[in-house]
């Protein structure tokens, strides 16, 4: 806690704001490459002898495999589970009590449990030819009843995804504090709320190029991955190889959002295949594979009751949450990542004396649910914020008043909420007040009274959330999943010409870390950002890291870079003092040079001396030199809490069901911002995804478990015209626990929009008796609800 208070008191980021350090709005260094189409993605990797792989995938959601028939002419080009001798299935266990383990074979054995599950891999000189071979393979499948509805899957007598479990529940959790005290509350609102199954849809899908280097006795896997070190650990476990025999390189990555944090069966398959075939092999996920087979997220169902007093004060929440986890537990986050988190994060930034939450992580015949930007928070924000609007309506209060009455107040910081989440800092009511003022709630209420000439209805909606980020060892050790983050490490070294190389184990796939980490280093060492190189995404070149997930990289890798650079600066300062023939105590490192009373010596000169003219160094120089690896953890590792209040104004056509977002305001507090321009980009991107959740994105399934949105004509993503020019306002309440007071902000933009937009639509339609409690809010759902409300009114009359 003392660490940053001291830092901030000493100096207010001298290189920031107008310079290149912490706080500067620097354009991204990597954009010179990425915006000119010069990025190097997995699909750009060219290796001599490379051949392409296409997979035979299950056409059925649930079936027993009776046979796989490969035409004679293609024997030798087609591989099935029977060929993969010694390859272990993917197992992502959780240590939470009662968790049931699934084994995901990398090629199906015995049964297929989802449409798109890998059954065979086909090898050919080109992808088209590999697809021809795949099309010639026939599967003899005995169809089994498909489990596609997570609520029905919980019922006794349901067909079973994993027979030996006896039911379909990966994990049930129960959390309760004093719920009985809430039951006599004068306001009691109960609803069922749900969010659709979505696909993450990064611009670049997954992709793998695998090759084996006999000289190094090393498998090299190029993979579009957020967490290359974790991928390596998972591969080593499945392949039965030493970690040192595997190098994972994740080059430029076109968006991850959680989808690329997962160990893929395809990664294991291609690793095996290149060792079997002796030449490099490639698989690039196509959009249909992405939609159907590998990337699903977000499907939550809530049965929730909120208890409140007449003045809107929360008395308690009682919730039963079910998450459709799909067929398998994915590595490393496990099948209970979403549901089990719901219990701890549902109360969010609100005070309440009583709380109960049961959660179910349910197995179904769908592809595994994966973490997606916001993870469980988007769902809980949607559920709770919709409910608070209903409480407001019941109490006859403005929704904003209910929030302000219950939000944790700044003077209560640091604050432990009812689920023991430790809020580090912040002024939540101020964010909400600013959002209400910026959206001009009074003007909208006046406009609503007048009505619209075009027959549309105007509505305003708000939402607020907190985003726990960079939570570390103490939080994750309790989960018992294959991955627990510890100290984050960074290596920093001066090059002989005075440049700076930084090596970190996280990865950047849109976050701009080649810029922001350089800004952190510049803040400490004063080296020009243009002379700082960041090495990311390669297990052979970077320190071990759990990688980029959980909005952790700026806090953790930024902190590690700062720590390593401080140590490096200290070593340079001591060498500089000797070169200046000064007492080390009398010199300081400033703006890239070591200064004493009678002169200064640049880092460049110090580096030149260390590497090229060691004869000028005194004999007692520190032999550690100008290369440092240091680890970092925040003073407290329970996570930073960033947050934002969102406010949306929409116009809804009740007869056609169209929703137009007229105005959108975000008041965001991400602690001290290393680069506000990058943060703005993160928020805009998250907002676009949040709008997708709110209005467009849905992967429906039929009763046989077939995914129905198999192309981007069916799976709708918001485009430029669907994303409004949002107005952003930043608050910067430092975290007391981190370097510079930064907080993680990577996911927040995608958390609050579904709730704010749904609340706005419901605000617009409430006078018609309409209430929408399901995302996405589609034209059909709106019109169906309007017609139902009109019918109800007629029958009441």
């Amino acid at each position: 806690m003392k660490e940053n208070a001291k830092l901030r008191n000493e100096r207010e980021f001298p290189h920031g704001k107008t310079g290149q350090g912490v706080g500067a709005r620097l354009p991204r260094k990597e954009d010179d490459r990425l915006m000119r189409g010069r990025g190097q993605y997995v699909g750009d990797v060219r290796l001599a002898g490379l051949q392409d792989v296409a997979f035979v995938r299950s056409p059925l959601a649930h079936a027993r495999i009776r046979g796989i028939h490969v035409p004679e002419r293609h024997r030798g080009s087609v591989f099935t589970a029977a060929d993969l001798v010694g390859i272990k299935p993917i197992r992502a266990v959780s240590g939470l009590p009662g968790f049931k383990i699934s084994e995901q074979p990398v090629l199906a054995t015995g049964k297929v449990r989802q449409v798109g599950e890998l059954v065979a891999m086909c090898l050919a000189p080109t992808r088209a030819e590999a697809e021809d071979i795949a099309a010639s393979v026939t599967l003899d499948l005995e169809e089994l009843p498909a489990i596609h509805d997570m609520l029905k899957a919980r019922e006794p007598g349901s067909a079973l995804v994993h027979e030996h479990w006896g039911d379909n529940v990966f994990l049930e959790t129960n959390y309760e504090i004093d719920i009985s005290t809430a039951l006599d509350a004068p306001i009691k609102v109960t609803r069922e709320i749900s969010t659709a199954r979505q696909c993450m849809s990064p611009l670049e899908g997954r992709g793998v190029v695998a090759t084996f280097d006999k000289r190094l006795d090393q498998l090299t896997l190029h993979s579009a991955a957020q967490m290359p070190h974790i991928t390596r650990s998972g591969l080593a476990e499945c392949l039965g190889m030493e970690e040192g025999q595997i190098r994972v390189i994740s080059p430029d990555v076109g968006g991850g959002f959680g989808h690329k944090g997962i160990l893929l069966p395809e990664e294991v398959c291609l690793s095996w295949l290149t060792m079997r075939c002796g030449h490099p092999v490639r698989w690039l996920e196509d959009r249909r594979e992405h939609l159907v087979a590998s990337s699903n997220c977000r499907e939550h169902h809530y049965k929730i009751t909120v208890y409140a007093d007449r003045d809107g004060t929360l008395r308690g929440i009682d919730c039963e949450a079910t998450v459709d986890s799909g067929a398998y537990s994915s590595y490393p986050f496990s099948a209970c990542l979403e549901a089990a988190q719901v219990a701890s994060i549902l109360p969010g930034p609100y005070k309440m004396p009583a709380y109960r939450c049961r959660t179910f992580s349910v197995a179904t015949n769908k592809c595994p649910i994966l973490p997606y930007r916001g993870v469980a928070r988007t769902g809980v924000c949607f559920a709770l914020e919709l409910m608070l609007d209903l409480v407001a309506a019941e109490a006859g209060l403005e929704p904003g008043e209910v929030r302000l009455r219950n939000l944790v107040r700044p003077e209560q910081m640091p604050f432990d909420n009812i689920t023991k989440k430790h809020f580090d800092s912040g002024d939540y009511p101020e964010a909400m007040r600013r959002a209400l003022a910026a959206i001009d709630i009074d003007a909208i209420r006046a406009r609503q009274k007048q009505g619209e000439a075009d027959g549309r209805r105007i509505g305003v909606g708000i939402s607020i959330y907190c985003e726990q980020a960079a939570h570390g060892t103490s939080v994750y050790s309790g989960w018992g999943i294959p991955m627990v983050p510890g100290h984050e490490q960074a290596s920093a070294r001066l090059t002989p010409d005075g440049g700076l190389e930084l090596r970190v184990g996280v990865h950047s796939h849109g976050q701009g870390m080649e810029t922001t980490l350089a800004q952190v280093a510049h803040e400490i060492l004063g080296v020009d950002v243009a002379s700082i190189r960041i090495v990311l995404g390669d297990t052979a070149m970077t320190p071990y890291s759990t990688g980029t997930w959980g909005s952790r990289s700026m806090v953790m890798a930024g902190g590690a870079v700062a720590t390593a650079c401080r140590e490096l600066g200290e070593r340079a300062r001591r060498i500089g003092a000797k070169l200046l023939q000064h007492d080390p105590a009398s010199v300081v490192l400033q703006n890239g040079e070591v200064r004493g009373v009678n002169g200064s010596v640049s880092l460049k000169a110090i580096a030149h001396t260390w590497y090229r003219r060691p004869q000028d160094l005194p004999p007692d120089v520190d032999p550690g030199g100008l290369e440092v690896t240091q680890g970092y953890k925040p003073v407290r590792d329970s996570g930073t809490f960033s947050y934002a209040a969102h406010a949306a104004v929409v116009a809804v056509d009740p007869d056609v069901g169209e929703v137009e977002i007229l105005d959108y305001v975000i008041v965001e507090d991400g602690g001290v911002l290393v680069n506000p321009l990058v943060v703005d980009g993160q928020i805009y991107g998250g907002l676009a995804q949040g709008i997708g959740t709110a209005l467009y994105e849905e992967m429906p399934f039929d009763a046989s478990g077939q995914p129905l949105a198999t192309t981007l004509a069916d799976y709708l993503l918001p485009g430029p015209t669907e994303v409004p020019a949002a107005r952003l306002d930043h608050m910067e309440t430092p975290s007391p626990y981190t370097q510079f007071g930064v907080k993680g902000i990577g996911e927040g933009g995608a958390i609050a929009p579904p709730a704010a937009i749904a609340n706005a639509v419901n605000d617009a339609l409430r006078p018609l008796g309409v209430e929408l409690m399901q995302s996405p809010i589609t034209p059909h759902r709106i019109v169906a609800a309007v017609l139902a409300a009109r019918a109800a009114e007629r029958s009441a009359a």
Binding site: T126, D653, D655, V656, A713, L716, P779, V783, A784, L787
Partner: protein, 278 residues
Amino acid sequence: MKPAPFAYERPRDLHAALSMLAASSGSAKIIAGGQSLGPMLNLRLVQPELIVDISGLAELKRAEVSGDELVLGALVTHADIEDGRTADVTRGAMRAVAANIAYRAVRNRGTIGGSLSHADPAADWISALAALGARVTLRSLAGARSMAVEAFVVGALESALHAGEIVEAVHVPARSAAAHWGYAKSCRKTGEFAHAIGAILVDPAAASARIVIGAIDTTPIVITDAVELFGGRIAADYKQRFDVRAADTLLASAGIDDAAQRHIHVSVLKRAVLEAAA
């Protein structure tokens, strides 16, 4: 998502193209802009033995006013119409429709003949041209025939084209100065296929109206004499006389069971009526 193998020909004139089609015994597909066929090939939804690329056929690129009608060759692109590179006899109606088809990139390559041949129920031209009273000319080695657009589209993704036959041109009648035009559609997002289309060409002086309800699961509903939808009489007050119940009944009898879907279609058609009357 790579296509199954196919042979590819790019004939230099229409006769050569028709000969290739005739010789292919029905396993050929014509490609022009490729905006629908391209994805279908990649998804292996179609696996033709032969692709005949007609994009080089100058005969199909003409656009001229002939008598009281506009004749547009099948290869005229949506962008040609949007940008006014082709003549117009519809007083801007076609230009406005073209400008809202999909995205500009699609409009640059997509052709009017291709759109009709593909017969996607949610596409714009099959509804808009039916409302405008357009006809298509089809040609094969055996000769040419002509039919109304609404007769040409026989089902979802199904046209009246015979094997070996190609859409040669679209004939659009001139819209009279007295005729009002309204065209509305609702799309989930900009550039997506519509889930409801309403089109009306109404001449209050002549007491006539053509109405199209499109983007339903099958062929658009085309009412060439829409008097029923206006309480039995079409006159200057047609906007007030528009009968949403009659429109709803039309949709119900077309097999649309879902009330919300019908309501959306009727509301979109109402928008078209209001636009025509504005």
